[in-house]
Symmetry: C2
Subunit: 198 residues, 2 copies
């Protein structure tokens, strides 16, 4: 029995490395593995192996890909606009709106001195290289509207200003369909300051 | 890129079968796998395989084990008291208090007609067999104090009464260290009804 429990706890330890998973949840995951059919466990393992062996980051744009440079980067002949995002998952979020036809660039993080991440720790150098190589005309910063995101946006825009490139960031204001009551003060004040003439 | 995303989503699908994991969390787990070192992913896979191949349930007590019957069940020579719990993890919880020296019996569920689980779907028959075989004198029902737990306790106690066995359940009342203010009404009323003479 001791041996069984050691194996379960070892697995729980592995699971607890997943984001947002505490040891209690990790233990529940491990118990679930004991309960799983053999075929289900095999599928899980196969999926992990498939991702681990085939998915990497594109050396150009930084997005998930199975070949690098990715299909997107290879097919682009005329890259005039680049949308800069923090993480690969943000690419899917922006792709959902279907309005944007340019390329993406994934920074893989934000500048955050408190966490010891400076400009060299994220993919800013790669962004500059792509901008120069492709004569990019506009950079849209689609970073999260938090302290690190704003600081990173500020840093990049200062870098790009001398290159005569249009730099913009996503508008901040009220979410569609929300009630004024539920908007936080910062959002409300942004919405107020950026009011639009009708 | 499409291929990479398919692989990631496939893995997310597998992760979303873990208890309490929605698709968004499962996706974050899958992204984490992309980020992991190869060695970390290998450790995770090895742990899953180890649990899957070596951990099973003891055919006697129903607890986790690598050999069945488990060491506990094999070493017991005189089983006078059995503590009945819902799930294997409850065994560890009770073992923590170190006061209990008898054997355990894991039901692997509770009676819950709403979920289509009757007495035959949990390990009650096995409990009766063990009680007869070992001339058990006392059964302690350590089930959760919720509707299903109470119903299951009631069912088992009625089964065992004619066999002249002492059946008890864990006391309900105030938690140690809590403030009266924070106790819910049901708990408070149980504590009131079960008040203890000093």
């Amino acid at each position: 029995m001791k041996n069984a429990i050691n194996l379960i706890n070892k697995l729980a330890n592995q699971f607890s490395k997943l984001p947002g998973v505490g040891f209690k949840s990790a233990q529940r995951f491990a118990y679930k593995v004991v309960d799983m059919k053999k075929s289900e466990a095999d599928e899980l393992i196969e999926s992990i192996l498939n991702v681990k062996n085939n998915v990497k980051y594109c050396e150009e744009c930084g997005n998930f890909t199975d070949v690098s440079p990715c299909d997107n980067c290879k097919s682009v002949t005329d890259l005039k606009t680049i949308c800069v995002v923090t993480l690969p998952k943000d690419v899917f979020t922006i792709e959902k709106i279907k309005d944007f036809k340019g390329g993406f660039h994934v920074l893989h993080g934000t500048i955050s001195p408190l966490d010891g991440r400076g400009p060299d720790d994220i993919r800013i150098k790669e962004l500059l290289t792509r901008i120069e190589k492709n004569n990019v005309e506009e950079v849209i910063l689609a970073l999260n509207p938090d302290v690190e995101g704003e600081a990173t946006a500020m840093y990049i825009s200062r870098l790009l200003k001398p290159l005569n490139i249009k730099v913009s960031k996503l508008a901040q204001g009220l979410s569609m369909g929300t009630d004024l009551d539920y908007a936080d003060e910062l959002t409300l004040s942004e919405a107020f300051n950026n009011r639009k003439l009708l």
